[in-house]
Amino acid sequence: MTEADLLSQLRKGDSRALNTIIAQYGPYVQTIAANITIPPLQPEDVEEVASDVFLSLWNNAETVEAGKLKAWLAAVTRNTAKNKLRSHHLAMPLEEDYFILDVPDAEADLLEQELQTLTREAVASLPEPEHSIFVRHYFLYQKTAEIARAMGLNASTVRSKLLRGREKLKEYLTRRGYDCEDGSC
């Protein structure tokens, strides 16, 4: 069954379609949720986040385009997991990894979309394995040890590739007019 067929059945309220989607993407969703929330939260919180994501899919199936289901699930999982941390007044993971951009704070919301688009372009232009390492760490919140295990690399290689990816991103943003300094500890 194609993804379009599954979404079509889902929109008709067919729970078997949701069952199939959970079977296919459940591990993906729960892993992203765990990457973001553990620690400081518990496995039960991961289950709650993942359940909320699939319930959101059930209630909003008409908003998901065929061919974009996995991307939708990834984005909603990131947001749901981060909201879970916020509800417990906990810090976000990877908050210590940031750039300082020379733009007024008042313009932050306006520029965020553009900066995300530029970042996607920059990351897409990275060679492998920098590309996958960057996405795994900063989009999927995978820890460096896990990335190393998943990609068959050693941890120091992962860390150095991450550093290289950050440098290239900084260069890309700077070339496009954003004066960018590395603010990370």
Binding site: I22, A23, P27, W58, A71, P93, L101, V123
Partner: protein, 265 residues
């Protein structure tokens, strides 16, 4: 302006990166989500209201016809055969806290050949069942081993839903739709019940078998349905124990159509 790299990377999705493996947590998530959507779907249809001064009702055994049946009045179920070119439709009305309509959903079913409607002289009383035999354990909604919904969703590797047992109540003006093409195999009587056995041809997931037990005395229908064979459905149905409660069902007039098929949240 401080920009966290993880936020900057908010659009850096990569289709090719896979994570995780199906494990016990995934299975718990699957069951939890399916249970939640079933429960949420049912809450839209019925709201129970307690009645003062009605005594408790004795249990009724389907297979032995012992105990006392509580006669409320006459209920009638009509099986309506729908022609191929006809679309069955109804409405779900959503309201805010003040009762103002916020949304009217036009529910349309173009691919059904069978619906059920009812005539009632009374409001039915709430009933619960206890499965005396099931082919494999399931989960349900109820209390102390008595359920209004019980079933098994199967596992993650199969689309088949083995069996589901659920209670539907007679309601005037309400259409209960059996989506897709249904073929009635047998109509009979088991004690107080009018029994309909049918196979439903789901074009996506395959055939499901159903045993529908309608009580004209008490105005409820028990649906036993799923992907297992008809003999198994019959055995489940014949081993149900049913009791009637003092609570009377109050219908929500904002929902005048529903679906009888298994797997519908």
């Amino acid at each position: 302006m401080k920009m966290v790299l993880a936020d900057l990377a908010g659009k850096c999705f990569d289709e090719n990166i896979e994570l995780g493996e199906y494990d016990e947590m995934t299975e718990r998530i699957r069951r939890r989500v399916l249970a939640r959507i079933m429960n949420d779907g049912r809450r839209k249809r019925y709201t129970a209201r307690r009645i003062r001064g009605i005594t408790l009702i004795a249990a009724v055994l389907i297979s032995l016809l012992t105990g006392t049946a509580y006669a409320l009045g006459l209920f009638r179920m009509n099986k309506n055969h729908i022609p191929e070119d006809v679309t069955v439709h109804g409405e779900w009305i959503e309201r805010d806290e003040d009762g103002n309509i916020t949304e009217i959903q036009d529910m349309r079913y173009p691919d059904t050949n069978l619906t059920f409607t009812f005539e009632c002289d009374e409001l039915p009383h709430k009933v619960q069942f206890k499965p005396g035999w099931v082919p494999m354990d399931g989960f349900g909604f109820g209390e102390d081993g008595w359920y209004h919904y019980y079933g098994n969703d199967g596992d993650s590797s199969e689309a088949q839903i083995p069996y589901k047992i659920e209670i539907f109540y007679a309601k005037p003006g309400f259409q209960l739709v059996m989506m897709y093409e249904s073929e009635i195999l047998e109509e009979s009587s088991w004690g107080e019940y009018e029994v309909t056995e049918l196979v439903n041809h789901n074009p996506v997931w395959g055939d499901d078998n159903y045993v529908l037990l309608f009580s004209p005395d008490q105005g409820y229908m028990i649906r036993v349905g799923g992907g297992l064979d008809m003999e198994t459905m019959e055995k489940i149905a014949k081993n149900l124990e049913v009791r009637t409660l003092d609570e009377q069902i109050q219908y929500d007039p904002d929902y005048n159509i529903g679906v009888l098929n298994v797997g519908r949240g």
